[in-house]
Symmetry: C2
Subunit: 376 residues, 2 copies
Amino acid sequence: MMLDRHPAGPRTPGTAIRGETVPTVPPASTASDAVDVTALLERGRTLATPVLRAAIDRLAPPMDTVAAYHFGWIDAQGNPADGDGGKAVRPALAVLSAEVTGAPPATGIPGAVAVELVHNFSLLHDDLMDGDEQRRHRDTVWKVHGPAQAILVGDALFALANEVLLELGTVEAGRAARRLTTATRALIDGQAQDISYEHRDRVSVEECLEMEGNKTGALLACASSIGAVLGGADDRTADTLEKYGYHLGLAFQAVDDLLGIWGDPESTGKQTWSDLRQRKKSLPVVAALAAEGPAAERLGEILAADAKSSDFENFSEEEFAARAALIEEAGGREWTTEEARRQHTIAIEALDSVDMPDRVRARFTALADFVVVRKR
Amino acid sequence: MMLDRHPAGPRTPGTAIRGETVPTVPPASTASDAVDVTALLERGRTLATPVLRAAIDRLAPPMDTVAAYHFGWIDAQGNPADGDGGKAVRPALAVLSAEVTGAPPATGIPGAVAVELVHNFSLLHDDLMDGDEQRRHRDTVWKVHGPAQAILVGDALFALANEVLLELGTVEAGRAARRLTTATRALIDGQAQDISYEHRDRVSVEECLEMEGNKTGALLACASSIGAVLGGADDRTADTLEKYGYHLGLAFQAVDDLLGIWGDPESTGKQTWSDLRQRKKSLPVVAALAAEGPAAERLGEILAADAKSSDFENFSEEEFAARAALIEEAGGREWTTEEARRQHTIAIEALDSVDMPDRVRARFTALADFVVVRKR
């Protein structure tokens, strides 16, 4: 459905000041104004974390330790740590979705835990495949504990995800596990695309969106519906909640791609021009390259030269800033901002086709708003 | 339950002629004499392979190609190949177990395919973790297609295994998926143990048996019961069939460990003294080391020196033959042969507690006999 759209042409050049906040998307609805998103995220985290920790405790040594390191619960020496648990959007969505069916939020907990396990399985394996040495400001698992442990513990988290759901022994749990499996297959497809795109000079906007839909949309879709499935929702309701989550995922990723270039390092915890340093073919880049005009053309030449450069790692701040400015001049930044807004709108509109208490709808809306206005 | 047994002491030295066939275990029963095991294995293969191929076809490129290479359906250049599909004991067991419930063998097909997918997921990842460059006489996937593809396609096979079961959408499929998940967790535990044992000087017989139970027993247990679960068997029946399969797996592995040292390269397709060359702490080795007497002592000294030797890879046939002779002299070969027989007996006896047609029972028995008398 998104294949008919094309990036905008050249735009008025903007300033690419490092650390400038991402142009934020005005919330589509005011119904969410009264929702305390921080409390909502905290609720998901509070409900899911003890069950997640108990699941990890089931792993045989040394896998339990390696997993605890990955989650930031201990440091590389095994001492307790108070790691950055992330934004916890997925668990918040999973427990919220249980409320769609009138079930208590707790009904969604096994779903929240299973989704977190699958997400972290994919992080462990992706970091190894991509050779990424840092995640959440810390050395990645393969860097600290070696590649074999990264593979093995990733496998174990994937298996645990199924176990946590299937041991419920209900028909609903079987349906939830099936949807989670579908999402996991999409995650894997997305990673396969990501790897194959690395070796290519050009990636189209459509290909990039498809990859991001697989890598981010599918699991957010599952998170947004899995609590409802566990609460007994029918397939139509679950499919519609998945639609909300899928497009929310695309909005999330568009914002992530903006932050990956123009995010404030103080907020994101990443280096300046992070995605440019990694030569990532993210949305702003592919949208800029797909545009017409001198800026897009110049950008194409520069990036092609960069790909062959042996000195790329030593580039100065100014050199990356110049590339970011060209991406912006070619319209990549504005297009991606609009794309985030567009996906946010589709997500919110999907909610209209599902019967749910107003309070629950306002919370879904508030989480969607949060995803597009965040700075990290 | 096997922790109370200890390896026998020193034995009369035997001859360790390379290529000598493994002392075979006399079938425990004559009921299986009339069963055509070759036809039984062929039935499992014939029923499962088309469904397995259709499942692999669902993978996005290039994962479908990488998986097809792994299964031996194509060569490294992508040309069709007629690969060695292995002995196909697992699919034979899975479709046979459906018949326990009176269901047709075909009821077990999704179970057979799911078990094969999990088995091959673990091979892909284990070969990479262990750095093994050859499997079934061919270069391993990570060697041909790179580590990232080995990780990714392994993940995809694991996800497909769940998909193949859960898309059936039945309560039975949910139960089957849960049991498969338990077996997969055991597989992963076994690989974790295998990795940790590599870094240790000594491994006890009990630890070796526990590891082999996880790496081989658990999935054979699942294969032996999954068709019955899909056919609606109750938990007690499934548990008992799992017991049969678990002990059959231990018997299978004991025979594998014998073949890994004394197997005929013409039959096994492996190098002479294959497991000794890899310094594998397999059952005959750990049993020999655990024995008392001069041979065990001498073996311990030699293997400790080997572990530090930088010239190990250039050892001559005679040097490996001398180690094999010491293992045999210390009783490791005889103990392992007895262990295979013992596990075979427990497996067969487990069948007594399950109601099933005589014809089906005879087939389970025949498959158990086949596993312990094979030469490859």
